[in-house]
């Protein structure tokens, strides 16, 4: 279906080709997963299939790309539109019309399908993707997961033979991601659609793939074979490699069948805390008390709503860094947050989880004073965030937003750093030193836009850390990060927590939460529905539990690292 023959792509400004001599054949009806670290040309390869590379992006493509026999050299993207459906990384950049139904029909209208056919396919697609409730909704009012489904639906309606998706689940919560992947699998199985997708979150997709294509080497093969050697792999594979299982299991189910012996070996051992400063033994202590404040003795963190206030009165200890009581936020007629009670201690890492649009970002915005609470109180280091001057506040709390690019507006890294030093009143060079530490080898005159997603995140983190805020907030920090970048981020955040920074992450990435967080707070519909030590909360809810926990349940192991340390 898709053939690449000696394909190399070079963009004008670079000396090195982004793709070099790629040869591959994707047979019809296969789901092919593209893996590899950031910046090896995954997006370029995907773009070459739809013809956007080089017709739209510029650059030189040598060799030949054919899709169903059509050469992309002679067929611009619009001539391939009936054959290839493409969804890019950012679904909101994909929409041409403004309501869901029109968006689904747009591609078919361009192809000139008969009105009756269009109507039927729109109805089918609405059902297939569970969008029927949203059909008349303006796209601007949809949540991230809904948008992603609309974007996929909009390329499905012309019934393309090939579907090209760039990180379709990165922005989604675990259950929305599963919905999307289930749809893709149905397309492959029922309609014989060929799907080519790039994704960093392998734990979500690898079990659905028929073949895995690894860049930059361009090796393609069965998932188990590739995963055995791949430097990037999901935790289930990590555990399998550790335990020496062969063939390597790719799904939690396969792994669980093999896990009997491993479980027996782990039976009488106790997982080490996820962090150096973590609660001494989450398995025993946390079980009953519902909270463990790392580094400051026991039993003094948030706890579950009802019990919290009583305990605050009785328990001695340092004042919490974040104290929210009865916090509520309204936006127009929407109650984004309701009666939130939350405490965060210094040195504690807290993961905020919950479906898209549950109110996680709103809570973070309230903590940095961007949104004033409608009722209730919020204190950060004893200050009221929304009435504290920004200059003073950044020394108390720093937020790395979902789109780190928003935080950067100078045109070189050096200028960005100088500005950050000025803003925070830090000694000149402070920020630059942080950047060198987090991002070795970035030149002073690089434009922030030319950095990769992970590098940009590191730069934004450095900018925020320049003010040395005791409280650090991160909104979806692992979107678009490969495993290596994620590992660096995890290491860095652990060091910060060990130095006494409190860290609050809003994330959909259960593996990240398992590796990093002492405590998990789950928000649904603007309310806190669960608050407790990671092991407890995460193991008890299937949607939010990491793969290792699912495999070794009911034992409270969360990460491969813990298992490795215990063996």
């Amino acid at each position: 279906m898709i053939r690449f023959e000696n394909v190399s792509v070079t963009y004008e400004e670079d000396a090195e080709p982004t793709l070099r001599d790629v040869n591959l054949t994707v047979p019809e009806g296969e789901l092919v997963l593209l893996v590899g670290p950031s910046g090896v040309g995954k997006s370029t390869l995907l773009g070459a299939v739809s013809g956007l590379v080089p017709h739209f992006t510029g650059g030189t493509l040598t060799g030949r790309v054919t899709v169903d026999g059509r050469d992309t050299r002679t067929h611009p993207p619009r001539e391939l539109a009936d054959l290839v459906g493409t969804v890019g990384q950012d679904p909101s950049a994909h929409f041409v019309t403004d309501t869901v139904e029109d968006e689904l029909a747009y591609g078919m209208e361009s192809l000139g399908l008969a009105p009756g056919v269009m109507r039927r396919r729109v109805e089918e697609t609405l059902d297939l993707l569970g969008l029927a409730e949203l059909r008349d909704r303006p796209i601007a009012t949809l949540s991230g997961g809904q948008r992603q489904r609309v974007a996929i639906g909009s390329v499905l309606t012309p019934h393309p033979k090939v579907l090209v998706l760039d990180e379709p689940t990165s922005a989604l919560d675990p259950s929305a991601a599963e919905d999307v992947l289930a749809v893709l699998q149905r397309l492959v199985h029922d309609l014989g659609t060929t799907v080519l997708l790039a994704e960093h979150r392998l734990e979500r997709v690898v079990q659905y793939a028929d073949q895995v294509l690894m860049l930059p080497d361009g090796v393609m093969g069965a998932p188990a074979g590739i995963m055995a050697v791949s430097p990037v792999h999901p935790p289930v594979v990590g555990l399998g490699r550790l335990a020496g299982w062969d063939p390597l299991p790719l799904t939690v189910r396969d792994a669980r069948r093999r896990a009997g012996e491993l479980k027996a070996r782990l039976e009488d051992r106790v997982p080490a805390g996820p962090l150096p400063h973590g609660p001494a033994s989450p398995a025993s202590e946390a079980r009953g008390s519902g909270g463990g404040a790392p580094g400051h003795g026991k039993g003094r963190s948030g706890g579950i709503g009802l019990f919290k206030r009583r305990r605050t009165e009785t328990a001695p200890g340092p004042a919490p860094l974040v104290l929210a009581e009865g916090l509520a936020v309204r936006r127009g007629r929407v109650e984004a947050l309701r009666r939130i009670d939350l405490q965060v201690q210094a040195g504690e890492t807290l993961a905020l989880m919950g479906r898209n649009g549950a109110g996680k970002s709103t809570l973070l915005s309230t903590l940095v004073g961007m949104i004033a609470p409608t009722s209730g109180t919020v204190r950060v280091a004893g200050r009221v965030p929304h009435s504290t001057s920004p200059r003073e506040l950044i020394r108390q709390v720093g937020l790395v937003p979902q789109e780190p690019r928003d935080l950067l507006y100078a045109d070189t890294v050096a200028a960005e750093c100088a500005a950050a030093d000025g803003d925070a009143g830090a000694a000149p060079g402070t920020c630059r030193a942080l950047v060198s530490e987090l991002l070795p080898g970035v030149a002073d005159d690089t434009h922030p836009r030319d950095l990769s997603e992970g590098q940009r995140l590191a730069l934004a983190l450095a900018v925020v850390l320049t003010g040395r805020p005791p409280l650090l907030l991160l909104d979806e920090p692992t979107r678009g990060l490969d495993y290596a970048a994620k590992a660096r981020l995890v290491a860095r955040l652990r060091t910060l927590a060990a130095e006494g920074h409190a860290i609050v992450l809003a994330t959909h990435d259960v593996e990240l939460a398992a590796e990093l967080a002492h405590r998990v707070v789950i928000i649904a519909d603007g309310e806190v529905v669960a608050d407790g030590p990671t092991a407890e909360v995460v193991v008890s809810s299937p949607a939010f539990s990491p793969q290792v926990a699912k495999i070794l349940a009911p034992q409270p192991w969360l990460t491969v690292e813990q298992v490795e340390a215990a063996l």
Binding site: D102, M118, P390, L399, D406
Partner: protein, 374 residues
């Protein structure tokens, strides 16, 4: 089923959506009526009618929020008109002197221009009436804007113009997106501990906002291209040539014709030329439509309710024009000498005809629990 049940407006859905054009005809009808009177009571009544219909029939969609902006713009226009009248004086002779502003002496060659000086009650009232008329026009346009989805209007364009229309609509989303960008970057400034106001802030935010908007436009263009925007069908060269000749010739004809109509000496040939030009241009567009392969998904139907809505607007306009013949002085209350405006009965009743859409147009469903935030 009882007759009253049949007559009651149904709940709005995609299939019974009122044609966007009907709303525009209705609103333009009100606007024409507004342009025919300076009576503030009648103008107020028109604004009231437009506002009532908007309140009764608008949806929760983002484009439906523009009504408030147009009302504010209208008030600003009134204010501006009065301020200019205060500063620059007015040709209206008046006897009720209210106060005298210090007058700026101007040189000889600026005769006829005055800055400051006498301010009379008559001139202020005249400026108010005039401003109110403009404001009403704006508010009528605002009403159409918030009742009809601009993108839906596109579906009614001839095929040859559709692609250009999409480009225009996408370009128009540039502005709201830029506003969103500004908000985001202001937030980012706050996160970096900088003040969010002031000229420096605007300058520092400006460049990234433009950059972001540009990047997004390119992304949308790529997406449109990949989804088949601009696919054309093969047509014989002769058809293509005829299309060009007809369209260009038609446009030339329209230009020459309208010049003829406006110029004093050309009245004879103006009208036929204009007509011929229009015909040729329409034929050109129709032929040009053959090149586009696109079809339309669920275009709005012009049904009975659309006729009623559009008809009520036209009726208001016609009745008001007619009222100018039987009650001109009531529609234009005297300014010199000053007199209190009266509400003439029949013109007022005819304005109320414009309320019809509030009863016949389909009722938008009450906002489906808008819990998921944007």
């Amino acid at each position: 089923m009882k007759v009253s049940d049949v007559l009651r407006a149904p709940e709005a859905s995609r299939s019974n959506a009122l044609h966007a054009g009907a709303w525009w005809v209705w609103a333009l009808g009100l606007a024409v009526a507004a342009s025919r009177t300076t009576n503030p009571l009648l103008l107020g009544l028109l604004v009231g009618v437009a506002g009532y219909v908007v309140a009764a029939r608008r949806t929760d969609a983002p484009w439906a929020r523009s009504y408030g902006a147009f009302v504010k713009l209208g008030l600003f226009v009134v204010f501006l008109r009065v301020v200019f009248s205060l500063l620059l004086g007015s040709p209206i002779p008046g006897t009720h002197l209210m106060f005298t502003l210090p007058e700026v002496p101007l040189p000889e060659w600026a005769q006829g221009v005055r800055i400051g000086g006498r301010v009379t009650a008559e001139q202020l009232v005249f400026a108010l009436y005039d401003g109110a008329k403009l404001a009403t026009l704006l508010i009528c346009v605002g009403a159409a804007n918030s009742l009809a989805n601009p993108a839906r209007l596109l579906k009614s364009l001839p095929g040859a113009l559709y692609e250009a229309g999409v480009a225009v609509v996408v370009a128009m989303t540039f502005a709201p997106n830029m506003v969103a960008d500004v908000v985001r970057l202001r937030t980012a400034r706050r996160l970096r501990g900088r003040p969010t106001g002031g000229v420096r802030a605007v300058l520092q935010i400006g460049l990234p906002v433009l950059e972001g908007a540009l990047e997004r436009s390119i992304a949308v263009a790529a997406s449109m291209d990949a989804r088949g925007y601009g696919r054309t069908a093969q047509v014989p060269a002769s058809v293509r040539r005829t299309t060009n000749v007809l369209t260009l010739g038609g446009l030339l004809g329209i230009c020459a014709g309208s010049y003829g109509l406006l110029a004093a000496e050309g009245a004879g040939y103006g009208l036929p030329l204009l007509g011929a030009g229009l015909l040729a241009a329409m034929a050109g567009l129709r032929l040009g439509g053959r090149r586009t392969v696109r079809t339309r998904y669920r275009p709005d139907h012009w049904g009975m309710r659309a006729w009623l809505v559009a008809g009520s607007g036209v009726a208001v306009a016609v009745l008001m024009i007619w009222a100018n013949t039987y009650a001109p002085e009531a529609l234009h209350p005297g300014v010199v000498p000053l007199e209190a405006p009266e509400l003439p009965l029949w013109p007022a009743v005819s304005v109320l005809v414009g309320l019809l859409p509030a009863f016949v147009a389909p009722v938008p469903a009450t906002a489906p629990a808008s819990k998921e935030k944007a």
